[in-house]
Structures are given as C-alpha cells and as structure tokens.
Amino acid sequence: MSQAVNSPHFNANARKALDDAFLQKALARSEKGFIERRKAAVEKLPEYDAIRDSARDLKDHILAHLDLYLEAYEKNVIAAGGHVHWAADAEEANEIIHGICKRLDAKTVAKGKSMISEETGLNAYLEERGIRPIETDLGEYIIQLRGETPSHLIAPALHVTKEQIEADFRRAHTDLPPERNLDEPTSLLAEARAMLREKFLAADVGITGANFLIAETGSSVIVTNEGNGDLTQTLAKAHIVISSIEKVVPTREDAATFLRLLARTASGLDLSVYTTFSTGARREGDPDGPLEYHVVLLDNGRSNMLGGKFQEMLRCIRCGACMNHCPVFHAVGGHAYGWVYPGPMGAVLTPSLVGVEKGGQLPNASTFCGRCEEVCPVRIPLPKLMRNWREREFERHLQPAAARYGLDFWAAFAKRPALYRAATSVAMKVLRLIGGKGRIRSLPLASGWTKHRDFPAPQGETFQALWKKRRVAR
C-alpha cells in the first residue's frame, strides 16, 4: 500500500483548484511571505551561494558512495543501542512499523511530520489494523481532522484558510465551550496544543521522519518549529524514525552545512526553532527518552535513480523553495499534482517513484520559467530534469496523439526552409484576413489559446518575404 496516485488527472485537478475560492484565497495569502522571507534571509548571509555549492558537491559525493555511508550509519545506530530495518518499498516499511507497534501492544501512536510516511500511506495502514495515528505537527493535525493529505512539504495545511480551521476545530473539539473566541491564529494554536498535550502522554509509540541521518554517530536529525517532534519521540515507549535512504550525511559538520541552508531557504529563519538530534534509546541514568529506538530505511525506487538521468533529484533536502517560487504551484496549489510531492520537485520525483506512465503529466505542467532552479539550495537543475522526463515520454510515445501529430506537422515544415517559407507566407496572409481588426477572438485548432485570450493577428507577410523585397528594391 502507498498513497494513491491521482497525477494523470492534473488538468482536471487544476481546473477544480482554480475554481476553489477557499484555496485561491489561501494561496494568495501565502505566496508573498515565503518569497520575501527567503530573500531577506539569503541577503543577510553573504556566503549563501558558496554554501549552496558545497552542499551540492557534498550531496553528489554522498550519492556516489551511498552504500558505504548507509552501512556506516547502520553500524553506528546499532552501536548506540538502536535497530535498523531496511524496507525496499512502502508495503515493507508499513509492515515493519506495524510489527513494532503490535509487539508493544500500541493503541495510539504520536506522529511528527513525515513526508515519507505519506509516501507509504502509513496512517491508513495503521488505522486499518486498529492503531490510531495522531499527527502532532499543527498543520498535519489540521489536515488529519479534515481527512486530507499535505499540500506542501513544510506547510501541509497551506491550502486551508484560518476561517476553515476555526470551523474544523469547532466541529472536532466538541468538549470545549462553543462560545470560545478563536479569531486569532494564536488562539487556534493554543487550542491545538492543549488537545495534543494529552495525546503525547497517551501515545505508546512516537514516529518521526528525519531531515538528516548522520553516519558517524548513527543519529537522526529533525527540525520543527513547534517542538512537537521532541515530545513525540521522548515520551513514548519506542521512537521509530522513518526515512528514505538519501537522507544520510557523513558527519555532524556536514549536517550543519545543510542546516544552514534548510531553514533560510524554507521559511527565512536562520535555523528552525527546534533542531533535534536523536541517538539510540534511553541509556542508564537518562531521566527520560524512549526504551526502544528504531530506524526504518525506505528505498521505494530511489536506488534505481542512482547513476541515472535523475540522480540529481536525490540531492533534494525538502525545503519547499521550488514550489514557493513556482507560478504553476501558486495557481493550483499542491493537491492538483495528485500524489505526495507537489511543485517542481514533485514534477521530477513523482515519475521517478511511481513511473512516468502515472506521473508524466507533472513534468509537462511547467512553463520552464526556471525560478525553481534559481532558488534551489542544492542547485538541482529542475527544468532540465523535467525535460528529461518529456524526452522519456516522447521516446515511449506516451504523449497525447494530438500533441505529437501537431509537433510532427510543424517539424515537417521547419526542417525544409523553402517549403516552410512558401507555406507560412500563405498561412500568414490567411490569418491576416481573418484578423483584419488586429485580434482574433476564436481560432479553430487553437482554442487553448483563444479560450482565455485574443490571438494577435500577424502583420500579413513574413519577415523573410519582406526582407527579400527590400533587398531587391535596393
């Protein structure tokens, strides 16, 4: 089991998103803040671009030696008293986690934010087996109440307005007095905190993701802004970390290199409010901490990306900057992308993990404006990788027939300059006749254009024809 893939319906999803007034309001509110906060944070750090270069080089080095670093990491987790479980796919990861929960007779598990657990569909898997997962990140808590999936890497409830959250809280928290005031975001936060506090104490198992895994110490690192990760992992009997394999870094210094980029790029903070390093289970003399510490290392298609055309995508540190700067994401939000990962990084990663047959719409749904690559902290050439997917689709004849024939028809002329000049000079004269007033309101075969815009009529004669006339006249 893993999250269902709805990416082939990007166009329909997008239309629905464009008609959703709440979503459009939420998107309009969030767009500017992310961009301005990142810009301000980056401007304050003169060596930002130099750190990006080191981070890129470091990731490339790690990916070239991923097996060695993973083995070193495993060895050091075990040395620190933890357990490592290797999961080839989502199903295996879910089974392993369920097995641990069952052995500990867990009724509820507290969860920190984890996109990998979204990838494996962990919540649904546990619920079907009688275990209640409780999301403890505020955004995740909100969308869990709403029965939704995250729409953004670091702001899972980006698509929801404050007014909608208030309504959700009033619907879900029926024990609280209905006349309470929830006008301010702080009162919503306080209410969520009070609700969650009890859940933390009741949870038998805490599950978190990992931003980084440190090979030299066997530690996992998470960053949060609410501190929920710390409570999730220290109060329960067992702490289970679920992470994908490419999160490993060699040393603590290396983790620091990425940490210097991550929060600045993601939210404009120098560092996230909480950066938590976890190494093994509770030791003798420790006042608290989990009795068991497990790491589930998920592959789920990533090792297939190594050494191939999409390896650079594995540099991603999940900051969300690419989607924060993407005009398409700003227009339709994250759910339109139809799987776990939205925006430009999702447009490359989704076909890599679920197959281009299912994910192929996403790398096409880009204007190639290049802003994602411009802001990526590890310099992933996202447009190039999206183009690689388009090439894969073209080679395998997966694109719609109309688009392919259209391209072939145009190419047949473009490859023959003499024919091209003859054909286009007739065609432009015809278009000019249709568009005598300068603008064409409706054009057969170009309804995609004229549905929303006029088509500016051509001048009539082509430049090459006119240039020839000028030369003769001289």
Binding site: A14, T367, C369, F394, T424, T462
Partner: protein, 260 residues
C-alpha cells in the same frame, strides 16, 4: 562575453539576423527594427534562409528534431561574425542548449559551441558587445516584463533598461514582479490553458496597476500572450517588442492592432 568594442570602423561586422520563427511569421517589424538598430551602428546585416531554432521540439522531448533543426541553424549561421536574435528564449536555446544537444558528438559539438559563442540576444549585443546607445524618441510611460529564459539563462535584466534610458520622452515604471513568468511557456499555454490563464491574469493585473501605457519585453511569445490577455480583458495598454521602440518605430501599430 567580450567587453571590448569590435573594430567596427575598419571592417564592418557581418551579423546574421536569426529573426526567430515568431518574428518571421507574426511580426516582421521586430526583424526590421533589429536590422535597423544593427545597421545604425555600422553592422552589415544578412538574413539567411531560416525556420525555427528548434526550441518547441526540444521542450516537447523530441531531441532528434531539435538536433536536426539545430544543425540546420548552425549551417545557416556559421559564416557570420555574430548571430543576433531578438528573443531571449530562442537565443538561450542556441547559447545554452545547442551545446547540450551535441554532448559527446565530436563532429557537431565544436560547431554548436562555436555558434553559441558568437550568438547574442539583441539587447545584450547592443548594450554589452557594441556598447551602442540607440537614439530614438518615444512619448509615454512603459513597463518592462523580464521574460524568463532571457532573465535566468542569459542574465538579461539591466541591458534593456539601460537602452531604454537613452530613449527621449520615455519613462520606465516598474510593475510588481516584473521577473515572474507570464504563463506563456511555449506549448504550455495551449496544453494547460486554464493554469496559463490564471498566471497571465496576475501578470496583466500587475501591468495595469503600474499605470504605464505601454508594455515592452524582448520575447514575442510572451508579448503575444500578454497582449492577447490585455485585449480580452479590454485593457487599453499597447504592447510592443523593445526593438521597435529602440529603433524609433514606436508609432507603428502595436501588437494586436489593425495594420494601417
């Protein structure tokens, strides 16, 4: 990028004008404006038989057609001292992507690289290579849209503004987010018309809010997209390619206006 002024006085530079298919078909006056700007500073301008740089094929995943069209363009433009294109995105295709298309091809890679090295977008060529300061008059306020490929692949941002600063009677008012995509994206705008519409609607809102009476940019695709949307919205803002204004052709019919 060469920063010395080439020896224009002793031997005229032979410039191959790669008009781009959109200018060739839709708006020849951009080609004539570019030719005038180049001839005014002593270049000899030639227009060899040409079609398209191949970008639509390249971005649709059809690498073999893209290579074929690139070879055609390389052969056509090899004889010139410089190649100039009135489009940042088409120039980006030649400068950045032609060498990528021939990676590992011992015969064509050097030829692709050689063409890339002498190819320039028009405003970059005028401003950075020739250090030209075209003299023109244009009455009115303009706002300038930075087309994405030119901006991010070629770093075009200062050059058009520098050239416009020399135009008498013209004032530049910056719109909000001039460097954000207009939603054209080549075939994107017809494959995802509703998403594209949302993006261009934001753009035309910013253009109108600037209060400028004319919108300029350096790429005809983006210009046609924005002109088409402004026209559909009934906004009375004229839209032109920057070359037209720099060449003193700013009183001819704007994009989407009837020919006189």
């Amino acid at each position: 990028m060469p920063d010395q002024v080439p020896a224009v006085a002793t031997k005229p530079l032979r410039v191959g004008l790669f008009a781009t298919c959109l200018v060739d078909l839709m708006r020849p006056r951009v080609g004539f404006a570019a030719a005038k700007l180049l001839e005014d500073v002593g270049c000899v301008v030639e227009v060899p038989a040409q079609t398209c740089c191949g970008q639509p094929a390249f971005n649709s995943g059809d690498r073999s057609t893209a290579r074929e069209l690139a070879m055609q363009a390389i052969k056509a433009f090899e004889p010139y001292d410089y190649v100039v294109m009135p489009s940042g995105s088409c120039a980006g295709q030649v400068i950045v992507h032609y060498p990528e298309l021939f990676e590992g091809d011992a015969a064509w890679l050097p030829r692709a690289r050689a063409l890339a090295a002498k190819t320039f977008e028009l405003t970059v060529f005028l401003s950075d290579v020739l250090k030209a300061a075209p003299r023109a008059r244009f009455e009115g306020s303009i706002t300038y849209h930075d087309s994405c490929s030119g901006l991010r692949e070629l770093g075009i941002k200062a050059q058009p503004r520098k050239l416009l600063a020399g135009v008498e009677g013209l004032s530049v008012v910056e719109m909000k987010d001039p460097d954000v995509c207009c939603g054209f994206g080549g075939t994107f705008c017809v494959k995802y018309p509703d998403v594209s519409n949302k993006i261009v609607g934001k753009k035309t809102g910013n253009i109108a809010a600037s209060g400028a009476s004319t919108l300029l940019a350096g790429d005809l695709g983006c210009l046609m997209n924005m002109a088409g949307k402004l026209s559909r919205e009934g906004k009375e803002i004229r839209v032109r390619h920057i070359a037209e204004v720099l060449a003193g052709m700013g009183d001819e019919p704007a994009i989407g206006e009837p020919e006189r």
